[in-house]
Symmetry: C2
Subunit: 195 residues, 2 copies
């Protein structure tokens, strides 16, 4: 599947290097109370969400599309959303849902987090899809998105007949993962030495 | 009560000015799906948490104290935690729980968010309590703390006999507020123009 997604370079030599050491990463995981159980429940979430990726993306893209201040980051110089940009990013976004649940959070994963960070930032935004859009997404919206991306996933986690306790554990693991990822994505925005 | 808390300057002329305009603030609230209902449920949370502040702080301080990489930010040049610093900050932290639930999120509130931001950052850390501790708290831990500060409050919200639906709404409102506040607190860490 991966090869079919334009611009999805996970695990290749083109991906950025994470600036975060494995020791720093370990402490960051402790800070969100990360445990082996979270890994297990993310695997379960991966099974639950696997065939719902399009429905999730419909919801998220609907949210972005209905807010001018958000869809703005997909617009060209004429102020109109670039359809091709939206649809190419959508494919990688779908893959990211699966990666969040299924990939081991190892060096390759850390590196791809840095790649995603740079693709939202001035360094690499627009390059992957060869578009001329707004130069970067402000950090405030990156952090704020923790809420919608976490809150809205819950209903999808609950759709496959798991117990309330299982849904809750999958949801907590997802929440931790989103917080960790947005934390990693804040790196390029941060003043030297302050990350 | 407020006058009794050393260093708590809410609403006074000593507080920093928020760099965020009311228009930007409006858009940020929309990004976390903020509604008038959230305000109502935070008021309810304020009633529920009012007499549990010490128990909550015991839990949070216990979490910090049990992690060397976190308690580090309260240590002096001898590597030992500064007891007076911990206890003075604890009082303001308790007041903050109440402010999060009870204050209107107006200009005074936005200004005090900037003040809290600067007190975690190089600009003002240690000054309020006249201590010589570590110069700043890295942004990665600020963002990561969204998880523990949100997840651990739930049990306290559930302790006063409210329905599961009410507890959930109080908790969602709290979660949104924490995300908004940490977003505002990221300002001084961010490169010029990237917030
Ligand atoms: C929790 C926060 C967010 C998550 C989980 C997220 C997720 C993603 C993912 C997975 C990608 C594709 C990465 C890849 O190339 O493989 C992406 C790209 C993109 N996202 Fe986000 N995103 C977040 C915040 C935002 C915000 C706030 C905006 C603003 C509307 C935004 C707009 C975009 C854009 C424009 C791209 C394409 C970047 C490029 O030119 O390569 N994202 N996002
Ligand atoms: C969601 C994240 C956080 C919240 C809600 C929070 C809350 C607070 C509050 C309310 C205060 C007192 C503000 C005032 O002076 O009125 C404070 C100060 C402080 N916090 Fe945090 N904090 C967070 C993250 C952190 C982290 C990650 C650390 C690192 C261990 C930390 C360490 C401190 C320290 C050392 C002070 C005293 C700063 C000074 O010198 O004035 N905080 N925090």
């Amino acid at each position: 599947m991966s090869e079919a997604i334009p611009g999805y370079t996970y695990g290749t030599a083109q991906v950025a290097q994470s600036p975060v050491s494995l020791e720093e990463w370990e402490l960051l995981k402790q800070t969100v109370l990360w445990t082996a159980e979270d890994e297990q429940y993310l695997r379960m979430a991966g099974e639950v969400l696997g065939d719902q990726v399009d429905a999730i993306l419909d919801l998220w893209y609907g949210f972005v599309a209905s807010h001018a201040h958000l869809v703005y980051y997909f617009t060209g110089s004429d102020g109109q959303p670039i359809a091709d940009y939206l649809s190419r990013v959508r494919q990688r976004f779908g893959q990211w849902i699966l990666d969040t649940c299924r990939r081991p959070y190892d060096q390759d994963w850390l590196n791809y987090q840095m790649e995603i960070a740079l693709r939202h930032y001035r360094t690499k935004k627009n390059q992957t899809d060869g578009v001329q859009s707004v130069p970067m997404i402000p950090l405030r919206y990156m952090i704020a998105f923790i809420y919608p991306i976490t809150a809205t996933i819950r209903e999808f986690l609950a759709r496959k007949g798991h117990s309330a306790a299982e849904v809750d554990r999958m949801h907590q693991a997802w929440f931790k993962s989103i917080v960790l990822q947005v934390t990693l994505w804040s790196y390029p925005y941060t003043r030297e030495g302050d990350f």
